[in-house]
């Protein structure tokens, strides 16, 4: 849409006589119509599949809705109850740890691998695909099940440790001290999609900057800090914003690894897992809807903070 209207703007500026202007405007309107027509399938989807449930969920968040009986309006009661819900607070704690630890580590891994791949090795396409694969699979039930078995007391991880003479019998998924960290590890492992974006970003940086820096005797570390990071900062920002939003909504991994309980001892009670338990396990869909809107508010706040601080470190070069 914006591309089309931008084009029209350009032409409108060039138009001189009033008559010509009118003609151009008409043309632009026709262009816009075509644009909207092409957008229609997406717009219909947005209105019916996203906007409808969105508004319904906002309404439900002000009701007591058991799924079975009709919703009953209770005003802000659901939101008030959240203040006094220890499991909600636990789920927020778990989710914040997951986001604040998991996202930066995942991005660091993604950038490191992207830089390795950018060195122009043989078989780049192959390696790129191999490293991308985990992020295709990471949110799947199958991988979560495998993860579960790997970190059991007799799982692959302990078996490998035993090969190296470490008598490991810890069940990593069954102890509240470790369970969340196995899921964070799974998150880090799915660095593929930010990696691919980083790789594209790295390709955009002109090689001559590095050449010039080398001539001046800059070390690799200095080149990374002074050239790569600033020029890549818009891409880092993009990945950061998207990954934070995604991480807040993580569900499958925790749900499968903990058998839907968020256990042991609520140590993997992700926000969305708790939301699901409330909505579908305890028939409190009104409360679940209110929880969803709190999550929207949290994500919006995080994104706004991100945008606010971006002006101090994101360099657009234009």
């Amino acid at each position: 849409m914006s591309a089309i209207s931008e084009l029209s703007t350009v032409r409108r500026v060039k138009a001189k006589s009033p008559e010509e202007k009118r003609l151009r405007a008409k043309e632009a309107a026709r262009d816009n119509k075509a644009g909207y027509l092409f957008l229609l399938p997406w717009l219909i989807g947005l209105v019916l599949i996203v906007a409808g449930p969105l508004i319904a969920s906002l309404y439900l968040s002000f009701t007591n809705y058991s799924l079975i009986q009709a919703p009953r309006w209770i005003g802000l009661e659901n939101y008030a109850r959240m203040l006094d819900d220890p499991r909600l607070h636990q789920s927020l704690k778990v989710t914040f740890i997951y986001v604040i630890v998991g996202v930066p580590l995942q991005l660091i891994a993604a950038l490191a691998i992207a830089m390795l791949l950018n060195e122009g090795m043989k078989g780049l396409a192959f390696y790129r695909s191999v490293f991308y694969l985990p992020s295709m699979l990471g949110a799947s039930v199958a991988i979560a099940l495998i993860w579960r078995q790997m970190f059991e007391s007799d799982g692959l991880v302990n078996q490998v440790l035993r090969v190296f003479g470490i008598p490991a019998t810890t069940s990593w998924i069954a102890d509240p001290k470790y369970a969340l960290w196995t899921i964070i590890l799974l998150h880090i492992w799915t660095f593929g999609s930010p990696m691919v974006i980083f790789l594209a970003g790295l390709r955009q940086i002109p090689g001559m900057y590095y050449e010039a820096a080398s001539v001046d005797g800059a070390s690799h570390w200095a080149q990374f800090r002074k050239i790569t990071l600033p020029l890549l900062s818009p891409i880092i920002f993009f990945n950061l914003v998207l990954q934070i939003i995604n991480a807040f909504q993580a569900f499958t991994q925790a749900f499968v690894v903990s058998n839907g309980t968020g256990g042991p001892s609520d140590s993997t009670l992700f926000y969305t897992v708790y939301l699901y338990q409330r909505g579908f396990g305890q028939f409190q869909m009104g409360y679940a809807a209110a929880m969803a809107w709190l999550l929207v508010a949290i994500i919006a706040a995080f994104t706004a903070i991100n945008f606010f601080f971006s002006k101090y470190w994101v360099f657009y070069g234009d």
Partner: protein
């Protein structure tokens, strides 16, 4: 805040991603595609939708049952909707919310009052359900507010299954389950685990609510009264203390092992449970699962009674549990046809010939006698056990009030807190009771 175009695009991407969250709360996974639900008239025939959860054997049986029923009642067509237990309830909830509930619903004790109390289930008593031949104590489970909203589809009882081979290996006699107390159970569990060199003497005892229920009943309490929790924090604390005693004695594994094994229903699939893999000597289970456990383990496991405080089985306040029930949607267009299926299933030889004891021992006394010789050895053992414990029965516990179905899950969570030293038994007990109560108020 002024946005440039790049920032705008990132923001828009973010919004789109965030929108999926709200989708989660507004629509269910696996929601029905609509239209295929029964309840309509098809050329003089009534078509009803019939939903159940099950395993491969039950699915096969139920398809055969549907065929046989349709032959017996040519005016009724049944459209089967099989499912598995976990997703069954999400689907049923969304179907019910959309006014598309299946006409005939296989129901569980944990959920019957969620639906029954909210008027989603048909009063089967008023619509001609026939439970006149049912054994005493088997009809009550399906009653909510004096209305019969579920007909018992098979009798179950909470048991401890034991592997005689492991006791042999430990050079121990099988314990006398008619006289054992909770403390003796702890001793036996610890001894057999040690002597047989396996992680668990006893699995699942503290993770399931039936054993907690048995303990409470022996102390003069119940899990639930009609509208409230039937026990005090002190009772829960006593139960948690008992668990710690078992754990310290060495009979139920380390905290990590207990946590990894999970709770019955919320843990591993039955064919990977400790007793099947030879890692446990005894395991809490419902009686109708004996056959599945035998099949998975290749062993001939034995049924043992739950212990008693007094050391007398006749004082252990046992009860018959409905392994599952048949309910009908309050909105079904043809209540008579729905009840016809339920009566046919509950009271005819034809039906029991097909399903045998897959859904538990038939509650109909005549059919119990009729089917006994046709049962597999494991099912015969269960049938005999169900009859043998008659003198030990006390009143049938009522269904949990709405919101109470999650008691076991909540209990296991606080037990984990205690096991991992995150809470004292007193703190955990108080929080446990508070949380169960707060769920009931909604």
């Amino acid at each position: 805040m002024a946005l440039n175009r790049r920032q705008f695009l990132i923001g828009a991407g973010g919004l789109a991603a965030a929108a999926t969250t709200m989708g989660l709360s507004a629509c269910a996974p696996g929601a029905p595609s609509g239209g295929s639900q029964g309840g309509g008239e098809q050329g003089g025939k009534t078509a009803l939708a019939l939903a159940w959860w099950g395993n491969p054997t039950r699915n096969k049986n139920t398809e055969a049952l549907i065929q046989a029923f349709q032959q017996a009642s040519p005016n009724i067509t049944l459209n089967g909707q099989p499912g598995d237990f976990a997703s069954y309830w999400d689907k049923l909830a969304t179907q019910t919310a959309g006014g598309q509930a299946p006409d005939i619903i296989q129901m569980d004790m944990a959920y019957i009052s969620e639906y029954g109390n909210r008027g989603a289930l048909l009063d089967l008593g008023k619509n001609g359900a026939d439970t006149s031949k049912f054994v005493e104590g088997t009809v009550e489970s399906g009653k909510i507010n004096d209305q019969l909203v579920g007909v018992n589809a098979g009798i179950n009882t909470a048991v401890i299954v034991a592997n005689p081979k492991i006791f042999e290996k430990a050079k121990m006699d099988m314990p006398d389950d008619k006289t054992w107390t909770w403390d003796q159970l702890s001793d036996v569990a610890a001894e057999v685990a040690k002597k047989a060199g396996i992680p668990f003497g006893l699995v699942y005892l503290f993770g399931g609510d039936p054993m907690f229920g048995a303990y409470l009943r022996q102390n003069g309490k119940e899990l639930f009264t009609e509208k409230d929790v039937g026990f005090e924090p002190a009772d829960a604390q006593a139960w948690f203390d008992l668990m710690m005693k078992f754990q310290k004695a060495g009979g139920i594994g380390t905290p990590q092992q207990i946590s990894e094994e999970g709770s019955p229903g919320g843990g591993k699939p039955i064919d990977q449970s400790a007793i099947v893999l030879g890692r446990g000597a005894m395991q809490y289970q419902n009686s109708n699962q004996l056959e599945a456990l035998n099949a998975a383990s290749g062993e001939s496991l034995k049924l043992l009674r739950a212990p008693s405080l007094a050391g007398k089985a006749t004082e252990r306040k046992a009860w018959y549990k409905a392994s599952m029930l048949w309910s009908a949607s309050a909105k079904t267009k043809n209540p008579e046809a729905a009840v016809a299926w339920i009566n046919w299933f509950a009271n005819t030889k034809e039906a029991v010939d097909i399903d045998k004891a897959e859904r538990g021992i038939p509650p109909n006394a005549e059919l119990q006698e009729y089917i006994k010789p046709k049962l597999s050895p494991a099912q015969q053992q269960v049938a005999k056990f169900i009859v043998d414990i008659k003198p030990e029965l006390a009143s049938t516990p009522i269904a949990p009030p709405p919101g109470g179905g999650k008691l076991a899950e909540i209990m296991f969570r606080y037990e984990s807190d205690v096991l991992f030293g995150k809470a004292s038994t007193a703190e955990a007990a108080q929080k446990f009771v508070d949380e169960v109560k707060s769920n009931l108020q909604v």
